[in-house]
Symmetry: C2
């Protein structure tokens, strides 16, 4: 490095991951028991420090993989939190990311290792530092996102019923929709494949299973949709 910048302060830079999952009824966020002082043992987002040799995004990916064992997960940057006193133990700026994962995909052993557990968004416990703000902002972002881009693929199992998909959107918006209108709208997007297979555990009649058409889904992820 040249000496050009030598007279400037260097700061600790962290990443924190807001990890959302959907259990069929509720949106949940993954919290861990903080493993460091200060505030050790309290509920916290999963985080870590950015090293000099990795990009901020890579750091977030690493942290997410450490906790869940998953790579190739949908993750986007949320916001950089840079208040001077946001971390009680010193000057740390944190770049928050939010990730969407299929709730059944995580590795149970890893979660236990980090004393992690899923918390309904309506019952988030007290969390350290400004993590509450991060969670609130990420929920807003998720809602905005879901208006303009499809999110089902990231949060639902590969095969799912129309009911599950609708329940997801109802959970995101904390609202309920008309079944017929919802089905019509979703099908008109042309991103679903209806399987001949049926899910028979929830009703006698059984409901069709769907999968996302990956190509069309990804196209809409780029182009945007107009849902709601």
């Amino acid at each position: 490095m040249t000496k050009a910048y030598n007279n400037h302060d260097r700061l600790l830079v962290a990443v924190d991951c807001i990890i959302f999952g959907f259990d069929g009824t509720e949106i949940k966020a993954l919290l861990v028991k903080r493993s460091l002082e200060p505030e050790k043992g309290k509920w916290s987002l999963m985080g870590g420090f950015v090293s000099a040799k990795e990009s901020v995004h890579d750091a977030a990916t690493r942290v997410l993989e450490n906790l869940t064992g998953l790579d190739n997960v949908y993750m986007e940057q949320l916001h950089c939190f840079g208040d001077v006193k946001r971390d009680a133990a010193g000057r740390v700026i944190s770049v928050a990311y939010f990730a969407l994962i299929k709730l059944d995909d995580y590795k149970e052993a890893l979660l236990q290792k980090h004393q992690a557990s899923w918390h309904s968004l309506h019952k988030i416990p007290a969390v350290v530092f400004d993590h509450k703000k991060m969670i609130a902002l990420s929920l807003e972002r998720l809602q905005q996102k879901a208006i303009a881009y499809p999110i089902g693929f990231e949060l639902l199992p590969t095969k799912f019923t129309m009911q599950q998909l609708q329940a997801l959107y109802e959970a995101v918006y904390n609202n309920s929709f008309d079944k017929r209108n919802f089905t019509k709208k979703i099908l008109s997007l042309n991103i679903l494949n209806r399987l001949t297979e049926k899910e028979k555990t929830t009703s006698r009649k059984g409901s069709f299973l769907y999968t996302f058409d990956k190509k069309k889904y990804n196209l809409l992820k780029k182009q945007g949709i107009k849902l709601l």
Copy 2:
């Protein structure tokens, strides 16, 4: 500070400001000639380092004020750019902000001091590092923002004509709209006060001047609108 974090790397953290203005026809961005090595003398966004004693947001505000002499400007965080090699001279992460200002409000002397000038978005010169990405992303954000929130107040003079407002939206979307439909839509938002005063320089008949109703405008800024 406790010693808890002592074994982690510390990084240089910068802010860069994308400053947009509207000249009645075009959206323009304010660029400066970079005053530091490396790349000294090349076009760049206005930036600066975050010191240990100020928040990231305060640093951005400071940088913006240094350049324009303005405080109380609309500014929001865009994105944190954290690639390892984004700055040729060393590891610097940068938090980009975008600001909207009334183009006539800046202090000419300050602009000269920083060798700053306004550049049409269609004719952005080569800029240092990843600033091109920052500008591109900020334009996307401006467009998204303008769909969901009113932006006229930040970019137009206090009193403005319907034509100016429409020209602003046409510039943002690089598109043209039907005059009647545009007027109807905007007026239906109920955020404008029509003055009895008329602007008479552009036509014989003269066109009504409007101001924003600050209260209603701010309400919509929170609640969101649906424009376009």
